[in-house]
Protein backbone atom coordinates (compact mmCIF):
# COMPACT_ATOMS: atom_id res chain seq x y z
CA UNK A 1 0.00 0.00 0.00
CA UNK A 2 2.69 2.45 1.07
CA UNK A 3 4.81 1.31 -1.84
CA UNK A 4 2.08 2.23 -4.32
CA UNK A 5 1.82 5.69 -2.74
CA UNK A 6 5.56 6.13 -3.27
CA UNK A 7 5.24 4.99 -6.90
CA UNK A 8 2.43 7.49 -7.54
CA UNK A 9 4.65 10.22 -6.07
CA UNK A 10 7.50 9.19 -8.41
CA UNK A 11 5.15 9.37 -11.40
CA UNK A 12 3.96 12.88 -10.43
CA UNK A 13 7.55 14.09 -9.97
CA UNK A 14 8.51 12.74 -13.41
CA UNK A 15 5.56 14.62 -14.93
CA UNK A 16 6.66 17.87 -13.32
CA UNK A 17 10.17 17.24 -14.70
CA UNK A 18 8.56 17.21 -18.13
CA UNK A 19 6.95 20.61 -17.44
CA UNK A 20 10.32 22.08 -16.53
CA UNK A 21 11.83 20.63 -19.71
CA UNK A 22 9.08 22.25 -21.80
CA UNK A 23 9.97 25.66 -20.42
CA UNK A 24 13.65 24.89 -20.91
CA UNK A 25 13.14 24.25 -24.63
CA UNK A 26 10.59 26.97 -25.24
CA UNK A 27 11.88 29.82 -23.08
CA UNK A 28 12.38 33.01 -25.05
CA UNK A 29 15.16 34.49 -22.93
CA UNK A 30 18.09 33.13 -20.97
CA UNK A 31 16.42 33.87 -17.62
CA UNK A 32 13.50 31.60 -18.53
CA UNK A 33 15.92 28.77 -19.14
CA UNK A 34 17.62 29.37 -15.82
CA UNK A 35 14.25 29.34 -14.03
CA UNK A 36 13.50 26.02 -15.70
CA UNK A 37 16.95 24.76 -14.64
CA UNK A 38 16.17 25.69 -11.03
CA UNK A 39 12.84 23.88 -11.17
CA UNK A 40 14.45 20.76 -12.70
CA UNK A 41 17.08 20.86 -9.95
CA UNK A 42 14.53 20.87 -7.13
CA UNK A 43 12.49 18.16 -8.83
CA UNK A 44 15.44 15.84 -9.27
CA UNK A 45 16.52 16.53 -5.67
CA UNK A 46 13.16 15.21 -4.48
CA UNK A 47 13.40 12.34 -6.98
CA UNK A 48 16.78 11.27 -5.56
CA UNK A 49 15.32 11.38 -2.05
CA UNK A 50 12.38 9.18 -3.01
CA UNK A 51 14.71 6.75 -4.81
CA UNK A 52 16.78 6.51 -1.62
CA UNK A 53 13.56 5.69 0.22
CA UNK A 54 12.68 2.97 -2.29
CA UNK A 55 16.06 1.29 -1.98
CA UNK A 56 16.06 1.83 1.76
CA UNK A 57 19.77 2.38 2.30
CA UNK A 58 20.82 5.27 4.50
CA UNK A 59 23.95 6.13 2.53
CA UNK A 60 21.89 7.00 -0.54
CA UNK A 61 20.42 9.93 1.30
CA UNK A 62 23.84 11.66 1.41
CA UNK A 63 23.52 12.54 -2.28
CA UNK A 64 20.56 14.97 -1.89
CA UNK A 65 22.30 16.62 1.08
CA UNK A 66 25.45 17.30 -0.95
CA UNK A 67 23.47 18.38 -3.96
CA UNK A 68 21.18 20.56 -1.86
CA UNK A 69 24.25 22.35 -0.55
CA UNK A 70 25.58 22.95 -4.05
CA UNK A 71 22.46 23.37 -6.18
CA UNK A 72 22.01 27.10 -5.74
CA UNK A 73 25.58 27.73 -6.87
CA UNK A 74 24.79 27.20 -10.56
CA UNK A 75 21.84 29.60 -10.53
CA UNK A 76 23.87 32.31 -8.77
CA UNK A 77 26.75 31.89 -11.24
CA UNK A 78 24.46 32.29 -14.26
CA UNK A 79 22.70 35.28 -12.69
CA UNK A 80 25.99 37.02 -11.96
CA UNK A 81 27.06 36.31 -15.56
CA UNK A 82 23.90 37.98 -16.84
CA UNK A 83 24.41 41.00 -14.60
CA UNK A 84 27.90 41.38 -16.01
CA UNK A 85 30.34 40.84 -13.16
CA UNK A 86 31.30 37.32 -12.20
Amino acid sequence: MIKYLILIAVAIILMSLLGGLYRFFKGPSLVDKVVAFDSITVNSLVLIGVMALLTGRAIYFDVPIVYGLLSFLGVIVVARYIQGGL
Binding site: I2, G20, V34, N43, A79
Partner: protein
Protein backbone atom coordinates in the same frame (compact mmCIF):
# COMPACT_ATOMS: atom_id res chain seq x y z
CA UNK B 1 2.71 2.81 14.11
CA UNK B 2 0.64 2.54 10.95
CA UNK B 3 -0.49 6.14 11.37
CA UNK B 4 3.00 7.60 10.90
CA UNK B 5 3.37 5.62 7.68
CA UNK B 6 0.11 6.91 6.23
CA UNK B 7 0.91 10.46 7.37
CA UNK B 8 4.26 10.24 5.60
CA UNK B 9 2.63 8.92 2.44
CA UNK B 10 0.06 11.71 2.46
CA UNK B 11 2.78 14.34 2.94
CA UNK B 12 4.77 12.84 0.06
CA UNK B 13 1.76 12.92 -2.28
CA UNK B 14 0.91 16.51 -1.26
CA UNK B 15 4.49 17.61 -1.85
CA UNK B 16 4.69 16.04 -5.28
CA UNK B 17 1.34 17.58 -6.23
CA UNK B 18 2.72 20.95 -5.18
CA UNK B 19 5.75 20.35 -7.42
CA UNK B 20 3.39 19.54 -10.28
CA UNK B 21 1.42 22.75 -9.68
CA UNK B 22 4.70 24.71 -9.72
CA UNK B 23 5.56 23.24 -13.09
CA UNK B 24 2.07 23.98 -14.48
CA UNK B 25 2.56 27.57 -13.34
CA UNK B 26 5.94 27.58 -15.08
CA UNK B 27 4.18 26.63 -18.31
CA UNK B 28 1.15 28.91 -18.10
CA UNK B 29 2.42 32.25 -16.77
CA UNK B 30 2.83 35.09 -19.28
CA UNK B 31 6.17 36.70 -18.40
CA UNK B 32 9.47 36.00 -16.65
CA UNK B 33 8.65 37.66 -13.35
CA UNK B 34 5.46 35.68 -12.77
CA UNK B 35 7.26 32.52 -13.83
CA UNK B 36 9.92 33.08 -11.20
CA UNK B 37 7.15 33.73 -8.65
CA UNK B 38 5.24 30.52 -9.18
CA UNK B 39 7.99 28.29 -10.47
CA UNK B 40 10.56 28.56 -7.75
CA UNK B 41 8.45 29.00 -4.65
CA UNK B 42 5.62 26.54 -4.94
CA UNK B 43 8.47 24.12 -5.59
CA UNK B 44 10.03 25.21 -2.28
CA UNK B 45 6.91 24.16 -0.38
CA UNK B 46 6.76 20.98 -2.45
CA UNK B 47 10.34 20.06 -1.59
CA UNK B 48 9.76 20.74 2.12
CA UNK B 49 6.62 18.59 2.26
CA UNK B 50 8.15 15.76 0.23
CA UNK B 51 11.27 15.56 2.37
CA UNK B 52 9.15 15.58 5.53
CA UNK B 53 7.21 12.67 4.08
CA UNK B 54 10.41 10.82 3.22
CA UNK B 55 11.70 11.34 6.75
CA UNK B 56 8.48 10.08 8.32
CA UNK B 57 8.38 7.03 6.04
CA UNK B 58 11.97 6.14 6.86
CA UNK B 59 11.26 5.84 10.60
CA UNK B 60 9.58 2.47 10.59
CA UNK B 61 11.00 0.45 7.74
CA UNK B 62 14.73 0.26 8.27
CA UNK B 63 16.23 -0.23 11.64
CA UNK B 64 19.79 1.05 11.26
CA UNK B 65 19.17 4.81 11.49
CA UNK B 66 16.27 7.06 10.73
CA UNK B 67 16.78 10.11 8.58
CA UNK B 68 15.00 12.79 10.56
CA UNK B 69 18.14 14.77 11.39
CA UNK B 70 19.38 14.85 7.82
CA UNK B 71 15.91 15.78 6.59
CA UNK B 72 15.83 18.73 9.00
CA UNK B 73 19.28 19.90 7.79
CA UNK B 74 18.18 19.62 4.16
CA UNK B 75 14.94 21.55 4.80
CA UNK B 76 16.78 24.35 6.61
CA UNK B 77 19.19 24.59 3.72
CA UNK B 78 16.42 24.73 1.13
CA UNK B 79 14.65 27.48 3.10
CA UNK B 80 17.86 29.53 3.34
CA UNK B 81 19.20 29.17 -0.19
CA UNK B 82 16.09 29.10 -2.38
CA UNK B 83 14.89 32.72 -1.89
CA UNK B 84 18.45 34.01 -2.38
CA UNK B 85 18.89 32.31 -5.73
CA UNK B 86 15.45 33.27 -7.03
CA UNK B 87 15.91 36.87 -5.85
CA UNK B 88 19.20 37.23 -7.71
CA UNK B 89 17.56 35.67 -10.77
CA UNK B 90 14.73 38.22 -10.72
CA UNK B 91 17.25 41.05 -10.31
CA UNK B 92 19.15 39.72 -13.33
CA UNK B 93 15.92 39.77 -15.32
CA UNK B 94 15.34 43.38 -14.29
CA UNK B 95 18.90 44.33 -15.25
CA UNK B 96 18.44 42.68 -18.67
CA UNK B 97 15.34 44.91 -19.10
CA UNK B 98 13.02 42.07 -20.02
CA UNK B 99 9.61 43.74 -20.43
CA UNK B 100 6.68 43.16 -18.08
CA UNK B 101 3.38 41.89 -19.45
CA UNK B 102 0.80 44.39 -20.59
CA UNK B 103 -1.30 43.56 -17.53
CA UNK B 104 1.22 45.21 -15.23
CA UNK B 105 -0.32 48.23 -13.54
CA UNK B 106 2.32 50.00 -11.46
CA UNK B 107 6.10 50.02 -11.48
CA UNK B 108 7.35 52.00 -8.50
CA UNK B 109 10.96 50.98 -9.14
CA UNK B 110 10.97 52.56 -12.59
CA UNK B 111 9.29 55.70 -11.24
CA UNK B 112 11.92 56.04 -8.55
CA UNK B 113 14.73 55.53 -11.05
CA UNK B 114 13.25 58.26 -13.23
CA UNK B 115 12.85 60.58 -10.23
CA UNK B 116 16.52 59.99 -9.31
CA UNK B 117 15.67 58.63 -5.88
CA UNK B 118 17.99 55.73 -6.52
CA UNK B 119 20.34 54.78 -9.31
CA UNK B 120 19.71 51.96 -11.71
CA UNK B 121 20.50 48.47 -10.36
CA UNK B 122 23.51 46.93 -12.00
CA UNK B 123 26.50 44.82 -11.15
CA UNK B 124 28.53 45.73 -8.11
Amino acid sequence: MEIIQYLGGALLIMGSLSLLIASIGLIRMPDVYNRVQTGTKASTLGAILSFLGVGLLSIENWSETNWIGRVIILIIFIIITNPVSSHILMRAAYVMKIPFTIDTKVDKLKEDIENKVLEEPKDE
